[in-house]
Amino acid sequence: MSSSPSTTPPATPASTRAKPANKGEAAADYLDGRLGIYSLAKANLRKIFPDHWSFMLGEICLYTFVIIILTGVYLTLFFKPSMGEVVYNGSYAPLDGIRMSEAYASTINISFEVRGGLLIRQIHHWAAIVFVAAMFVHMMRVFFTGAFRKPREINWVFGFLLLCLGFFDGFMGYSLPDDLLSGTGIRFMEGAVLAVPLVGTYIQMFLFGGEFPGTDIIPRFFTIHVLLIPGVMLGLLVAHLILVFYHKHTQWGGPGKTEKNVVGMPLMPVYMAKAGGFFFLVFGIIAAMSAIASVNPVWAYGPYRPDQVSTDAQPDWYMGFAEGLIRVMPGWEVRAWGHTLNLGVFIPLMLFPLVLALIAAYPFIEGWIIGDKREHHILDRPRNVPVRTGLGAAWITLYVVLLIGGGNDLIATHFHLSLNDITYFVRVGSFVLPIAVFYITKRWCLGLQRRDKEKVLHGRETGVIKRLPHGEFIEVHAQLPQATLHSLTSHEQPQPLELPSEVDENGVARKVGLLTKTRAKLSEGYFGEGGQIPKPTVEEHQEITSGHGHH
């Protein structure tokens, strides 16, 4: 829409912005003009983050993920994801002249020929072990403090998906070297796939490109391990972090902290230094672990052969509970009409995602029971929500009991116990122990609530014994400071839902659905008489403090 080309362009300045003071500002101006970095930095450069040790757990996950990506890229430069057969002639003498796949041979070469290759391999594996462990502990932190409540439920799901993908990528990763141990793991997976009704054999053939083991599974796992799953994880991770920034971090209650603020220190400089530094601390510690502790010494296992196996074959720890399920399940097989339903394998295969789904779905179940539509940014102390804390502890118990089942052979040999007894114990224990732990934990929380109440109303024991004129000995209690009184009493105590009355205002019987009744029952369980100890009121406090001051 310009006028004739002969006219000179008007000499107006491109921008009205003040001249930059130095080259740094000039560079920032350049980027701002193209990327809009000032608007982005305005909200984030001095963003406030609250401080608590438990908030570092998520950071460990992030940093180990970065370490895994960095070392993983290095490993792909040397690893050959091929099941083509070669005869080994490298520097590791015990394997000299032995037939093996190129995948295994190249892993041996990374460990013995490439300088620093073993270190990077071990950092990769150790970081993966720590990654999954940190995700678990991080998830538990979020669970027990109620940090998953609105508005963070979706982010909880993102985190849960990251955990599951972490499992599978870990499994595929340690399957790649094609050593005797990991091949046994793949064989187990094949058996599990075959147990799927109707389509099991088809999935098996399509997955392996033919009969087990074939020559396709390692290259296929490789692509999934290095490209597909990490790609999805990276996307989820970025979304997870964006939401952490967008929601702003949760914080513990206490003086000056409310649902409408976040108290802490700014990203620049404090958390840049602390969080940035923490990356190097995590990396340094994992490097030290990899220098002194061997992990997955594949050269000692030998190459995979379907007719050979080592004793005490174990998956990496995070697959241990699935291993437990498969080991303790009775061998039920239904044979009818020319078909076999292998329940002994198929049931554990279904329970594996179900155990995980239980915890994944929890925020939505709790949200439904409580019916609370408000945002929550102040964390719950675990004792103040005894039912949730009990359920979390029960879930951990189930996990640990199954882990014991997964390591029943190791426990049997290390503690000189009967393997059969351990299996029977796990079969019963996975039902009984979570229930027992639930009740113990819940009562424990209630006890702690009573203790808090006691402290608020009667103060702290000073250890000073006073003798009264009439000879009675008493211990002097000191009033808690107001900040502590506030911290111990500022939490909410929701009241259980009440069912609508049986008849409406016109005297007509009202139909109350089963769902509504269940919800009211559950709500009563959470917040009814047995679910929490009513916290001290101001009146109670005044009555006691205005009296004789102690006792």
Partner: protein
Amino acid sequence: MSHDNISDDKLPDAHAASEGHGLPAVADDPFADPGLPAHEPRRTDIDERAAQRAERQVSLLFVTSMLATVGFIASYVAIKPDKLVFIFPLGHVSALNFALGMTLAVALFCIGAGAVHWARTLMSDVEMPAERHPIEADDEVRADVIQQFKTGAAESGFGRRKMIRNTMIGSMAMVPLAGVVLLRDLGPLPEKKLDHTGWIEATPTAPIRLVNMNTDEPMKAEDLAIGSLTFAKPGPSASRPNGLQDSDEDFQQAIAKDALMLVRIQPQDLKDEKSSALGFEGVLAYSKICTHVGCPISLYEQQTHHALCPCHQSTFDLSDGARVIFGPAGHPLPQLKITTDTEGYLVATQDFTVPVGPSFWERSA
């Protein structure tokens, strides 16, 4: 746009503690929020010499990191990959791995320690509050967006022009089928592949010898001591003149199904007649592949005749037709019918009568 003002009904009240029970407001509430505690200065905030000391400590950590990186490069160049070194309490470890790992660890850790120490001693540790904004948009924005969406939807005619809508949904639903079809060549169809093993070539006229896995020699019944366990594979056949060899291209697939476990048990100890008849003078040939999920069974207790799978501890009584006596396996180990040829060597004259390995949907036995 009062986006920044949080409305009280969307947030729980932090002071609900004292008011939540419908009590009259208390004039001097002992539980009231006293507000953020005053900042307590650190030593480095008030003592310049302490601050300078902290500065030197941070720098020292960074310098240590630099030295460690130099050490890393030096180790990489100087230490041979095959050198072992004794380090207490680790024992003999790879010198190169230990040196590279420890120098890298120090180089990284000291950067982290320096940065954290810097933040903790010299950067401001004044806690400050920032406001939170509600995640939910206010009603005005919400109404505006919904209106915009309705306008857009109306302009597209998506709801009104049903033919476009239905054909579009149809095409979008169908096009992924192309991707599904492409997966067909991932592998062959199962057909009857899992029902047979390499022993299928064995017939009464062309038996296949059982060959010792370790010595690659055929075996006679008297070669097997009572109570012993021997692993075996198929000997020469029409398609494999040298027997199954680990240099064969399909060795892994073949051995995954053909591997045998030979035991010799006193005939009077055998509890299952059918199983006993499939053997020869107390020599029984069972599939080595566990019927649970396919691990090779390798542990045998000769006193009890129990074979144990080391993966998931399924236990089979080999004197009783490999009945499952413990563990998660769902059915006995398949047994291969054996006899001897004219020279007295153990041979198979037919395949397993049931599929070996873990069970599957199409398994009819």
